[in-house]
């Protein structure tokens, strides 16, 4: 919902802390994901993720979440799907050129990022979206990648 989305960016620090608490849990559950099988876990986890992040951020389930780098404002809600910052068409009142009654998600993102501890994450150059991941769970991907990193370090 639009108003909750704006709330989320205004409380980016709180949500950053929340995610920092949740991420290790998802990673710790690695034995569970492994025994169930990532493919089988995918559907329920993606559904849960969509319910949480859909409510908070109007998450579009791009499957490669960068909320931590976008001030907790989902960049996939930008009509141009920009993942690296605002276009040149932002109106003087900070609204979107395509949807003039809506705040620019990148104006929200910048303000959100300044409230976060890792406020420089917004300066990372984001690679293009992998459209094959649409609809999949970012959380499971994070868990899997963390497990793979641990394996490779062994």
């Amino acid at each position: 919902m639009y108003s909750i989305r704006l709330w989320a960016a205004r409380h980016a620090r709180l949500l950053e802390l929340t995610y920092q608490a949740v991420e290790p849990v998802i990673i710790k559950l690695q034995p569970l994901w492994k025994s169930v099988g990532y493919a089988r876990a995918e559907k329920p986890v993606a559904r849960l993720e969509q319910a949480c992040k859909g409510l908070l951020f109007d998450c579009q389930m791009c499957g490669q979440c960068i909320l931590s780098s976008t001030g907790m404002s989902c960049s996939m809600n930008c009509p141009k799907h920009l993942r690296n910052g605002p276009c040149g068409g932002v109106m003087q009142n900070g609204n979107c050129e395509v949807e003039p009654d809506t705040r620019c998600v990148w104006v929200e993102a910048w303000e959100g990022s300044q409230r976060m501890k890792d406020s420089d994450a917004i300066q990372i150059v984001q690679l293009p979206v992998d459209h094959r991941l649409q609809g999949t769970s970012s959380w499971l991907r994070v868990a899997r990648q963390a497990a793979e990193r641990r394996e490779s370090l062994k």
Partner: protein, 334 residues
Amino acid sequence: MTSRLTIPNSSQLPPAEDAGNVGRLERVLRSGQFAVTAELAPPDSADPQEVHARAQLFAGHVDAMNATDGSGANCHMSSVAMCALLAREGHETVMQISCRDRNRIAIQGDVLGAAALGIRNLLCLTGDGVQVGDHPEAKPVFDLDSLSLLDIVAGLRDKHAFASGRTLTSAPQVFLGAAANPFAPPFAFRPHRLAKKIAAGAQFIQTQYCFDLPRFQDFMHRARDLGLLEKCFILPGVGPLASARTAEWIRRHVPGVHIPDDVLKRLKGARDQKAEGRDICIEMIQQLREIEGVSGVHIMAHRQEAFVPEIVQRAGILGARRPWTPEPRPTPYP
């Protein structure tokens, strides 16, 4: 954040005659001369003569001509075709690429084709939304954004590879540009976005229309504090306003262009508004030239292209220098 960009001093540059793949715009900028680029409106036509006639207006007055890619999301002749026609005559062009209409497969193919056709400069843009143009019912693509586009084209050139990793047998030797709009919110983020563009591969920057000098100065100060001025060439955008009515229309309808009240007031109070618009533009160029880090100007004289030579001349920015111009063709009947 680290930047992959290294710019040699002008003394390290090869001399003009054996500059190889270095285009004229890049040479002018690297040699520290004040560069002039201008926007060339593409015709709604399949006749190459219309392209040549438009270019003829600028020849000898600008260092490169920008061919827009469906600017304002309106349909026109494609930028790659315009640039190819102009390159055939020897003109230096900046081919604009927007992410609105094509995905990464099409764009990479176009970049290779453009380089093969002799196009040296590319300007990587996000592009206007389809809703502002003449085909609002079209599907907006935006597979890439301007940053990932820069990164991919830099990869084609420097890593000799497509985004997929597949290698090229010959890499496109292009000078990479990007746009900046210091005049739209969030203002504090704009210099950081410039830094991101430089990190992604931008070597020169052309900005949105500058009518608000203090705002631009503030942007440049922040860019200097971030150490960006040595890493790219910045060409602020300028242009003559045809009348106060045009200015008001732009304020209402063109997203991202900011025209302050005092500019509007000055136009309204003028007896000849068109001439006043040009005077404002010329004064702006002269003031911009004094700002540290400004390497040239980009003139966008929409529907006033014929005045570009006059603006350049009266602004006095070229001095005694005369940009390249095609040899006059032998006339069939002497």
